[in-house]
């Protein structure tokens, strides 16, 4: 099964274009791809348990692996994460790149 890493750097509170990227993740899963969404920079602001981001919850329920950059989380004092979001070191990007997974940045 082809695999993708989608890196999201924007947060959904400031940029409504994040909706497009979440939809792309959903569409890639529907097309039988394995998708990991890595939240970096301000995108991790969507990762708190009480953050109102239903689209992110839907992605998790739909089978997208959602990770949040540990450095960005620490920088913003985010400790607890929403169910289905896991903290990850930036090395995860290299994991995907070295494995040949298509990797995009938004």
């Amino acid at each position: 099964m082809p695999r993708y890493l989608l890196i999201e750097s924007r947060d959904p509170f400031e940029s409504n274009d994040v909706a497009y990227y979440f939809d792309l993740a959903r569409g890639l899963v529907a097309a039988d791809n394995e998708v990991t969404l890595l939240l970096v920079q301000n995108a991790v602001l969507a990762a708190r348990p009480a953050a109102k981001v239903p689209a992110l919850r839907a992605l998790i329920a739909g089978g997208v692996t959602v990770l949040a950059d540990d450095f960005a989380l620490k920088e913003r004092g985010i400790v607890a994460l929403a169910d289905g979001v896991a903290s990850a070191p930036i090395d995860v990007v290299i994991d995907h790149l070295e494995s040949g997974h298509k990797t995009l940045w938004h």
């Binding site: 082809p2 274009d17 497009y20 939809d23 792309l24 569409g27 890639l28 529907a30 097309a31 791809n33 298509k102 995009l104 940045w105 938004h106």
Partner: protein, 129 residues
């Protein structure tokens, strides 16, 4: 044979007057000249690049006057006609911006956003600009 590369371009009108080009479309044209096999998808605000008849006059600051003002529709046509780079445009992004199909260059191909995953599978490299 060069790797087939899909370039999803969403950045629009960023530094185009200063650079007298969209720097991503310019890069695609330059790389094509070096033997690349690019396809461009315009999405988000970049779909406006496909609107025919656009272009501001050159910038004037004091006595300095720009003489080579860019026109994005012309650059899109250049990609398609001269560089043989297919340019696809996300039709939902046109519609939400109130751009009628009649305003869009005939030389671009309109595609639905739902077709993007299948399209991405056809290319060895997919980049987001």
């Amino acid at each position: 044979m060069a790797k087939k590369t899909l370039n999803i371009v969403e950045s629009a009108y960023r530094a185009v007057m200063e650079e007298q080009d969209d720097t991503i479309l310019w890069l695609m044209a330059a790389m094509q000249g070096a033997g690349a096999a690019h396809t461009v998808v315009l999405r988000g605000n970049a779909v406006n690049y496909a609107v025919a008849g656009q272009g501001a006059p050159g910038l004037t600051v004091g006595r300095w006057k720009q003489t080579q003002a860019p026109r994005m529709d012309r650059d899109v046509l250049d990609l398609v006609e001269k560089r043989k780079i297919p340019v696809l445009v996300i039709q939902e992004d046109l519609a939400v911006r109130g751009i009628q199909k009649s305003e869009v260059l005939a030389e671009v191909e309109l595609i639905g956003i739902e077709s993007l995953p299948a399209l991405m599978a056809e290319f060895e490299i997919v980049s987001h600009w």
